[in-house]
Amino acid sequence: MKWKILLIEDTEDLGEMICDILAMEGFEIIWAKDGRMGIDFFHTQKPDLIITDMIMPVLSGLEAIKYIRAEAASSIPIIILSARSSPEDQKSGLDAGASLYLRKPCSNSLLVESVWKLLPSG
């Protein structure tokens, strides 16, 4: 059975790259282009892990995480992959309930290893 990963990312080229990288690892990818779409997919597709950007139109990554943790009461692993690099941003992401905070740019191996580590079997 393939692990199902939800990617929430509004930047076209970057999203495509992440999809390529994770597909190479054998994961099934669902790509949402903003936070609202991400929440919809979370409910409908039942992913095993979420990778989310922070700054996005309609609904930000942070708000999406807060919703998933509070409203949906889910403990699904969530990785933040953000261009915001300050310690404050990192703290607010983790406080909202993210499992891991990765700063852009990060290497492909770091991203892949982090995903594996956070999946239930890992």
Binding site: D10, T11, E12, D13, L14, E16, M17, I18, D20, I21, M24, D34, I55, M56, P57, V58, L59, S60, A83, R84, S85, S86, R103, K104, P105, C106, S107, N108, S109
Partner: protein, 651 residues
């Protein structure tokens, strides 16, 4: 004397028997006797003819009128001696013995004689002595009653007893102001001895400097026989000036007849010198007040003005005559301040000091002036507060200057605050820039990194097309980053004229179409509806700047209207102007943000979830200005934004 005449007559009779002649002579003798008797009656003197060998004395009526003895009383030489006052009798007898022995014809003496009443009277006795071959034969003389004068002298003695004890100058004159006596004090001060002074009048003390009006008052007082007190400048025998306070009193007898004058003088020279010094000081002070370069005002206990110097007149416009006797507060101060002024001055009148306070007063011309004033209580010689003296300076100019200075300091402070605020904002903007720039660069960097990693990790497994698409991605991100960098550089330029303008001929329609295509290719999401109404085929402009303007206008519109997927672009020519207008129905810009919209790196408060540099609008504005154009922006939050750039065109 008449015995001699009798003898002469007797001899005459014996020698000549002519009866008729006798009768005539007898008549003449009777007449002579009569005349002599009248003469002695007319004088109040006792006359006596003493036959010294027998001792018999023939008296005239004076024996009765002077001494009270009846005319027929036998008073011979021996009896007379016994009537002399025992204290003086031996003296008189001794003197007479000496006279007779030395055969002197004249003798006089003052002594007391016992009257019929038993009391003694002072008499002045003058006699003429006749000798016959060195033997005294007759003594003829008069006795003058000098009792009154002697009593007066005794009084002078008593007065002088008192007067001699004092340092004051005492002068006693007769009713005609002839000096009868002066004391030692007088002698010491004037340099005139008692002997030099006797018989003279006090006029000898007066000189050129003696005030005539004062003397006239003294003379008037004397003529009215009343006491006089004056201050007189007198001169000593050496011509030295001295001041006396003179007190002249008439001495009257019981019947109010003037007996003499007594003058007591106090030497007030030093007092006068002191007084003239004080007067000089007072005059100086008064001159000082009058001419001082300060406002000097005096008020009495009821706050009525009683002092007003020349400077006060100049400073206030009120002349002395306008203000003396008026209430200070009502004339000089604004009705609103009057109570305050009166309460301040009342406190001073209770002894408080009022030091260097600023009060506003009204000049006569109606202008407000500022007075820097100090006030002190004014006291009389017993220390009682009778008013106050206030000294003030008109510091209106100074106050104005101070106020303008304060105003300037305020302005400068304000400017500094603004500068500081700007500086802070700049720092904030720079911080923001660093954050935004790092974010905006990190995203394309991230894509490049992933792509490069991906290629190196899986190169051997990848198909040629895959490799090519990844390399394209990298290339595209590099182009994006370069244009981002260009934006940052343009936006960072502080002066619009530092943007170089390179004009070329541009075919406008083709240029617009290509630009729309490029934008669509990078964003993919939105439709761009074009309304094009430009008659000109070509225009002359800086293609790069116009491109920068339009690209930013369109990408902004697309970025900030994520819910509404179409954008309107209007390109129109209005005479010699080209207008580029982009209308979206996006999130809009708040009024607050609109104020700072064109500052580089400023981002709207509702844009946190949308990536961006905050450079777009500032680039639009700077580029438009470099082309002598302008930017108009209208926006309503949640309804959308319309931005219009107007550029001048030349063919």
């Amino acid at each position: 004397m008449f015995r001699k005449i009798k003898d002469t007559v007797a001899n005459f009779f014996s020698a000549n028997q002519n009866f008729q002649l006798v009768k005539e002579l007898s008549e003449k003798l009777k007449m002579a006797n009569q005349k002599f008797d009248w003469l002695t009656r007319a004088s109040n003197e006792a006359m006596r003819d003493c036959d010294l060998p027998s001792g018999t004395i023939i008296w005239n009526h004076g024996l009765q009128s002077l001494f009270g003895y009846p005319n027929n009383k036998e008073i011979n030489y021996t009896t007379w001696l016994s009537l002399i006052h025992p204290a003086e009798r031996d003296n008189v007898m001794g003197e007479l013995t000496n006279i007779f022995a030395s055969r002197q014809p004249m003798w006089s003496s003052i002594y007391r004689v016992k009257c019929a009443s038993g009391s003694y009277r002072h008499i002045f006795d003058r006699v003429y002595v006749l000798y016959n071959e060195n033997v005294p034969m007759r003594m003829i003389g008069t006795m003058q009653d000098i009792d009154e004068r002697m009593m007066g002298l005794a009084e002078i003695d008593r007065l002088s007893m008192v007067a001699s004890k004092t340092d004051n100058l005492v002068i006693i004159t007769d009713p005609n102001q002839q000096i009868e006596w002066v004391n030692q004090g007088f002698v010491n001060r004037t340099g005139y001895s008692l002997k030099e002074s006797l018989g003279k009048t006090p006029r000898m003390l007066q000189g050129a400097g003696t005030d005539q009006a004062t003397l006239a008052r003294i003379r008037k007082g004397i003529s009215e026989q009343r006491a006089v007190t004056e201050e007189v400048l007198n001169y000593t025998s050496q011509g030295e000036k001295y001041w006396v306070k003179i007190n002249i009193n008439p001495v009257l007898d019981e019947a109010q007849n003037l007996l003499r004058w007594v003058a007591v003088e106090t030497d007030i020279t030093r007092y006068k010198e002191y007084e003239s010094k004080i007067t000089a000081i007072a005059r100086e002070l008064s001159d000082l007040i009058a001419n001082a370069n300060a406002i000097i005002i005096g008020v009495d206990r009821n706050l009525y003005v009683n002092e007003w110097n020349a400077f006060a007149s100049t400073a206030t416009g009120y002349h002395k005559n306008d203000i003396l006797g008026k209430k200070i507060a009502t004339v000089l101060f604004h009705p609103m301040d009057q109570k305050k002024i009166e309460s301040i001055f009342t406190k001073v009148l209770q002894g408080e000091l009022f030091h260097q306070q600023e009060l506003a007063y009204s000049h006569q011309d109606g202008h407000q002036h500022i007075l820097l004033i100090s006030a002190t209580p004014r006291k009389n010689e017993t220390g009682e507060i009778v008013g106050l003296i206030a000294v003030g300076h008109d510091i209106t100019e100074l106050t104005d200057y101070r106020n303008s200075l304060e105003e300037r300091v305020k302005e400068r402070t304000e400017e500094l605050k603004i500068a500081l605020k700007k500086e802070k904002e700049l720092v904030e903007i720079k911080k923001q820039f660093v954050a935004i720039a790092s974010h905006e660069f990190r995203t394309p960097l991230s894509t490049i990194h992933f792509a490069a990693n991906f290629l190196s990790d899986h190169l051997e497994k990848l198909a040629y097309e895959d490799v090519r698409s990844k390399l394209k991605k990298i290339e595209k991100q590099v182009v994006h980053m370069t244009s981002l960098l260009d934006d940052v550089i343009v936006a960072g330029r502080t002066e619009t004229n530092s943007i170089p303008v390179m004009k070329t001929v541009v075919s406008l329609r083709q240029f617009i179409d290509k630009l729309i295509e490029d934008v669509k290719n990078t964003t993919h999401t939105h439709e761009i509806n074009l309304y094009y109404d430009v008659a000109l085929q070509v225009i002359e402009t800086d293609e790069k700047l116009v491109q920068s303007i339009l690209t930013n206008m369109l990408t902004n519109a697309i970025k900030f209207s994520p819910q509404k997927l179409s954008i309107q672009l209007n390109v129109q020519q209005q005479e010699d102007k080209l207008t580029l207008e982009v209308i979206d129905q996006g999130i809009g810009i708040s009024e607050y943000d609109q104020l700072r919209l064109f500052e580089p790196f400023h981002r709207g408060s509702n844009t946190h979830s949308i990536a961006g540099t905050g450079l777009g609008l500032s680039i639009i504005k700077k580029a438009a200005e470099a082309l002598n154009g302008s930017v108009i922006l209208k926006s309503q939050i949640d309804e959308g934004t319309t931005i219009k750039v107007i550029l001048p065109i030349s063919v």
